[in-house]
């Protein structure tokens, strides 16, 4: 029993981090109707920039205080988000879904290549930003880094919900998420809203990179988290910020259970494929996810 609860705790914490990455998909999708397949590579870029301004800078003899390093990383990611939107996805507005899908595939491969070119293929140690160790709760242990990440995900979800329903800028983004022509007729600059959404999405992905990688191994493989979070975003509903952490918990717990009980009898394959089994099931049974927007049909 204790073992099971420990597994559940780990599943929930990891799942909430998946939820964080899923939020970065959702924020971009809401405004632009684009699923950025290369979101994992965007996260990777953020992680390498962070490495450069911390460990990299220290190795070069210019140690920066952590807040400055984080600020620089955020700025670089804002610029990167704007660049992706302006350079690739804005010119594709109005093109078919297939065109945008292929652009996403191309971007994914391109970004991996560029990352390898700039930083090399070797693994390195990511900077320690969140405290290491584990919190003891009675007989259970919770990884401090993941716990902080999970709490951050919940706080961010609440904050984004308030932002999208109360603030003037958030309501503008919500209007764009609904319908571009209606938003235009209400004086909303759709272009500006999409650019803001990309910046937000890139920043959230970078925050996820900090949580995921603090003190662990940074390599090109990290980008795979993007494809792990995609089923989470689909399950939660691509328009739903609040669906993302919930779906993350579901996938995280299922994955943790599969790791413990199914992996030993499947040569370790079960936990790896489980999110994608879930993804296909969602697409077949409820393509708009748990909380996504079904077109409201009125009788």
């Amino acid at each position: 029993m204790t073992g099971l609860i420990q597994i559940l705790i780990e599943g929930v914490l990891v799942g909430l981090v998946y939820g964080l990455v899923a939020i970065s998909f959702v924020v971009i999708y809401r405004a632009s109707r684009i699923i950025n397949l290369a979101q994992g590579e965007v996260l990777l870029f953020g992680a390498y920039v962070l490495w450069s301004v911390t460990e990299g800078a220290r190795a070069a003899g210019v140690g920066l205080p952590l807040p400055v390093a984080l600020g620089l990383t955020a700025l670089a990611c804002i610029a990167f988000g704007v660049m992706l939107e302006r350079g690739i996805f804005r010119p594709l507005i109005g093109q078919s879904g297939f065109t945008i899908f292929m652009a996403g595939v191309a971007l994914l491969i391109l970004l991996r290549g560029v990352t390898q070119l700039l930083w090399g293929a070797q693994s390195r140690t990511a900077p320690v930003i969140l405290p290491e160790g584990a919190l003891t709760l009675g007989p259970f242990l919770a990884n401090t880094r993941l716990l902080i990440g999970a709490l951050f995900t919940l706080a961010l979800t609440a904050a984004l919900h308030v932002f999208f329903t109360r603030s003037r800028l958030g309501l503008r983004l919500a209007a764009v998420a609904e319908d571009h022509v209606t938003a235009l007729s209400l004086g909303v600059s759709v272009r500006q809203a999409i650019a803001v959404a990309w910046v937000l999405g890139t920043l959230v992905a970078t925050a996820a990179a900090v949580v995921l990688l603090s003190g662990s191994i940074l390599s090109l493989e990290v980008a795979g988290i993007g494809f792990k979070a995609l089923p989470v975003a689909l399950l939660g509903g691509l328009e739903s910020i609040r669906g993302a952490p919930l779906a993350g918990v579901i996938i995280g717990v299922l994955e943790a259970l599969a790791t413990t009980y199914l992996d030993p009898i499947t040569n370790g394959a079960a936990s790896g494929v489980l999110p994608y089994v879930a993804m296909i099931a969602v697409l077949l049974i409820r393509p708009y996810g748990l909380f996504g927007w079904r077109r409201i049909e009125r009788l």
């Binding site: 609904e178 022509v181 209606t182 007729s185 004086g187």
Partner: protein, 264 residues
């Protein structure tokens, strides 16, 4: 003159001319209606004013649109909105997954005067008391009449100087149409609002307008004050469905010739 269109041509996709040399004048405080059959160019005229032609690959290729003395021809829709021209699109385009309150607040998204916004919200409830009870409801599940109230309320939240309505009565029961037009009349009187409206329900629209334009095939074929329109035999026959008692109706036989004369 609050709004004036001078010799405006609109072309879609670079080839299809939908509006030919349109001249429309709207004075401050007036209610002006555009009448005409489907495809006459009414919605195009409205979209030319509000800057929404781009969404349909359309563009103003000649002429000038001026609002309050400033040229707004081909301007960005957001810039036009900021000048005080707010269009309610046809087809009841509420933001359907947002609540009624959020929809109303989107109308006020450019305003920083929080207290005034709240006061305006109360004013909207004054015109449409029903909306107060619906505040927390998801807009997509409202009835047609409620949606239309919400759309006009949302436009009012932007404090427009010129309100553009595209077929507000479409698909509403006759009793609701009467109520809606009465409320629009009240709003005009109390807010001293100028209204430019496209309406299929010619009887209701002409009875309440100050001035009207009749469009056909992308041209304005007839215009006049309410009294002039109501006295015009063509309007009586084709739009009000009256055929003068003692006068033989040329409705069938002369229709084609009348059209030709108009087009000339």
């Amino acid at each position: 003159m609050l709004l004036s269109l001078s010799n405006v041509d609109v072309v879609y996709g670079g080839v299809i001319q939908v509006l030919r040399s349109a001249n429309i004048q709207v004075r401050e405080g007036q209610m002006v209606v555009l009448l005409g059959a489907n495809g006459a160019g009414k919605t195009t005229t409205l979209r030319a004013v509000s800057g929404l032609l781009h969404a349909d690959q359309g563009a103003v290729t000649a002429g000038r649109i001026a609002f309050d003395g400033q040229d707004i021809t081909g301007a960005d829709p957001a810039a036009i909105f900021r000048k005080g021209i707010v269009q309610v699109l046809e087809g009841r385009r509420v933001l359907e997954h947002l609540t009624v309150r959020q929809n109303l607040m989107v109308g006020a998204h450019l305003r920083r005067d929080g207290a005034e916004v709240r006061a305006d919200l109360e004013r909207v409830f004054g015109y449409f008391p029903r909306l107060r009870a619906l505040l927390g409801r998801t807009a997509g599940y409202l009835s047609g009449g409620e949606m239309q109230m919400l759309l006009i309320g949302r436009a009012l939240m932007a404090r427009p100087r010129l309100l553009i309505l595209d077929e507000p009565s479409m698909g509403l029961a006759p009793v609701l149409v009467e109520q809606l037009f009465d409320t629009i009349g009240r709003i005009r009187a109390e807010e001293r609002l100028t209204v430019l409206m496209v309406e299929q329900n010619a009887r209701a629209a002409i009875a309440r307008c100050d001035y009207g334009y009749v469009m056909e095939g992308g041209r304005i074929v007839l215009h006049g004050t309410r009294a002039e329109l109501m006295g015009n035999q063509d309007v009586q026959e084709f739009y009000l469905g009256l055929s003068g008692g003692d006068r033989p109706s040329y409705r069938e036989v002369k229709h084609y010739r009348r059209r030709k004369r108009w087009l000339g």
